[in-house]
Subunit: 272 residues, 2 copies
């Protein structure tokens, strides 16, 4: 009897300590009710920030707005936008001739666990800061190794300046002549190589570009997109995420053959 | 001893049968690995379907495409689109003067459990079919009552015709004169009232509009959007969803003051 009892307890403990029980489909929303979805996306408006050489930004035109002849209210708009501005996706084909376009990136590459690496202390004191491999390994020393297929997000602190172009880009000037005046932090190319070697799923940050403002050859774009790792730029609200444990759903507008485009990115975070 | 043993078993069973254990944040992706995300969105291209009176549809313009003077490949595009076409959101303000715009709809209204009500047998044999309250109550008789805060999706079967305008809309003609020739199923206004009374979270279907093609006053839009219930139109792949148990994440492009816009909608479905 003792032996059976002990076996039963061991059996129960084994089941209870297994990380996850098989769930019923309808249980998912109950699990998700233990946390909340947080929006990491800026809205699109005339204030949306685009690279200085874009001749136009986001524009919303009124198709209809007001009470119709049949007595009901009706509003409808049309819009124009470059792909790369505001909270947006860089698809691999943005910098890789045979890379995936925005519509072809599998949902598995756009959803998953995220880590948030805070480099804001260094980046806010140096507008040209390049995120280093040390920034990652320091994070790992405190929080554990970053697993394969993780979405790696860098918090530079520049999100607090959006959409103030002067503070966010380093210049509020427009046109091609403003490009040499861009000063904001980005990911060093050796760090990009590290991320590829460690098989991360996607990368994102709270600046206009994964390359820093002073980049000429966009080496970090070439390396990450060349390795089929999508990038999320101008992410909002990174300060609301924990260093680990957030689950990301990043859904770009499904533009056929697009090199990127508007991104609605949200994170599920467990209640603390 | 017997009593202790029994108590332990009862304790274990009680825990094991409780619907959900409190999870650790990092467990969510493990739970989600018991199923998969399915894309319910069409891509945006020159083939994307828009209401016949839209003077233009989706247009992608090349900003850059090819090898740069610095030797790396680079592609970038800009696009133009009306808000209401392809897989898209109708925000409450589309038909309600003081309704929420696309950017203001809380994520809680865009995520949650879905039911799929299949009306394709009737709708495919009658292009002007109006989805009735009976269609819902028949579904409930088989599958249980629809709870408050459910996302209700109707499968008319017309998704199989997309993007063939003749078969999907009932006419391939363009311009205002084509509007009276629209013939596709939609939601009857009494059914819309039922959905409001039962406090559903959002509604969606695989046709161009929640009102049927022959509607003149868009009563179903007025009722549902007037009650702050967002609508998802031109949903793809509804045939891949179970009648219940799917979890929806519907993320519209975050257009400030938008009456709707491009929607990327996905569903998590447990492996069977």
């Amino acid at each position: 009897m003792k032996s059976t009892f002990t076996n039963n307890i061991i059996f129960c403990l084994a089941i209870l300590s297994s990380p996850i029980l098989s769930i019923k489909a309808q249980d998912l929303s109950q699990i998700l009710s233990q946390g909340k979805w947080i929006d990491l996306s800026y809205d699109f408006s005339a204030q949306t920030l685009y690279w200085p050489n874009n001749p136009t930004g986001f524009k919303l035109d009124t198709v209809a707005e007001g009470v119709t002849s049949l007595g009901y209210y009706y509003s409808s708009y049309a819009f124009t936008a470059p792909e790369h501005g505001g909270t947006h996706l860089d698809a691999p084909v943005h910098f890789a001739a045979y890379g995936l376009s925005a519509d072809k990136i599998p949902l598995e590459k756009l959803t998953g666990d995220a880590v948030v690496i805070d480099v804001s202390a260094k980046a806010l004191s140096d507008r040209d800061y390049l995120i280093s491999v040390n920034d990652i390994t320091d994070w790992e020393a405190k929080n554990g190794a970053i697993k394969e297929n993780t979405i790696v997000l860098f918090k530079t602190g520049y999100g607090q300046f959006y959409p103030d172009a002067e503070k966010y880009f380093g210049t509020a000037e427009r046109g091609a002549q403003a490009i040499p005046k861009l000063h904001f932090p980005g990911i060093d190319s050796t760090t990009a190589e590290w991320l590829v070697r460690h098989k991360i799923k996607a990368v994102g940050l709270d600046t206009p570009s994964i390359d820093y403002g002073q980049s000429k050859n966009f080496k970090t774009h070439q390396i990450l997109l060349g390795a089929s790792i999508p990038a999320f730029e101008n992410i909002a609200n990174l300060n609301l995420l924990p260093v680990k444990g957030a689950y990301i759903v990043a859904l770009p507008m499904k533009i056929k053959n697009g090199s990127g485009g508007p991104l609605r990115i949200i994170a599920w975070v467990k209640n603390s």
